[in-house]
Symmetry: D2
Subunit: 132 residues, 4 copies
């Protein structure tokens, strides 16, 4: 299942080239991942309150086209892989149905000591699994 | 040749986990790439003035350990690959000689129309070539 | 006339206190000012293309309450003062109709040399004038 | 007593005007305030660990001149006012001894419930008092 969210590029997210700075896309992807967690009923506030965390372990990103102030961007997020402790999401940023950025983001669950650990059952939700 | 630069983590670069947000490392790597360009005598202001640009086409990043406010980070940058239009840099962020982040960053030169193009001779400097 | 726009707080805009970092509100206010310019038919892209710029000369901001991830914020912008070269906008950020941030932002028009100068007639739009 | 710290403007801190975005100066001032706290022996990590916080309640900032990538900026911080719960700092950003930004920042101490409260004795250090 692909989760979608929409955002609009803002002026301060652009650098002296006049386009969105390469780091800002990681902000966009983070925003989309939190919308994805909501969509799959992963209770993130409760997760954090219980002392757990999710970190980005690895990220690959292809910058295909630039984005500019006011561009309306759609971000698609879907699970690609899933293990007990970590998984990978495929994320795609589109403008007018054209892919401008594609990324693979590997996340890992950590426990209260910051050590990678299994996702507790309450948060090991089906939506984290890739569809087959 | 490995170019090094140093920076110190600042509080506003950290998110609600209390550690540096994953997007911020891309800012750090960008800073290090500009220091690298200076070190290899790539005249970036002249390059921009002539209407050219360098964009990040692709990036892979491994987040091994977290960084915190006041951490002194050393960033190493060295060329890995080089073509006529693009190349890849290997970048590493260390704290106390321990690698905390590693990345491969593929850059591409664009001309005044924003089209990928060969680096003009004046900027096709030796330091962009990997050592063999 | 008060112009309104809405945005939602994102996780990466929050710092280690878990609330929106004080600098980020200036990003929000900038976004709202650009929406304000559109609403009053100030053609900003044409303005920039003609070589002009608008800078923030002075800003006063009252931080009344904190904002958190997912908060829906309404930003109101209205002109307070207007001269030939500069003016002041009153901006207010509300959550559930409660004011959480209030600011006065003084802007100045600069010409192609970066010198403060009169707004050219094409951009000296009525919406920049406070209502009386 | 005036505390000083130095930083260098980085490319990603600049927007499409090619100069430092107005919000970024608040990041710079935050950095300088934390250096100030260290200089006056305010143990900030212990303060946070004890459950307290310091928030910015009010800020006035004068943007006099622009700053550009690679500019070396000196930030001066000195106390202007001090009460039991809050105080005001005067901060100045200089380039080559020329003032480019000046600000007054009012801070407030909050307790573990986020309610403004007196600074606990351990952190009510002399350096927070203006000299007279």
């Amino acid at each position: 299942m692909i989760t979608e969210c929409i955002l609009q590029v803002r002026t301060y997210e652009c650098d002296s080239y006049g386009h969105v700075n390469n780091a800002i896309y990681l902000n966009y992807l983070e925003y989309a991942r939190y919308e994805f967690l909501k969509a799959i009923n992963f209770d993130y506030p409760a997760f954090i309150k219980a002392g757990y965390g999710i970190f980005v372990a690895h990220l690959e990103i292809d910058y295909k086209k630039q984005a500019y102030p006011d561009d309306l961007l759609t971000i698609q997020t879907r699970p690609l892989k899933k293990g007990a402790v970590s998984g990978t999401l495929a994320q795609k940023i589109l403008r007018d149905k054209e892919s401008i950025v594609e990324a693979f983001v590997t996340w890992a669950c950590v426990n209260t000591e910051g050590i990678p650990s299994k996702l507790p059952p309450q948060w090991n939700v089906p939506g984290l699994m890739p569809e087959d």
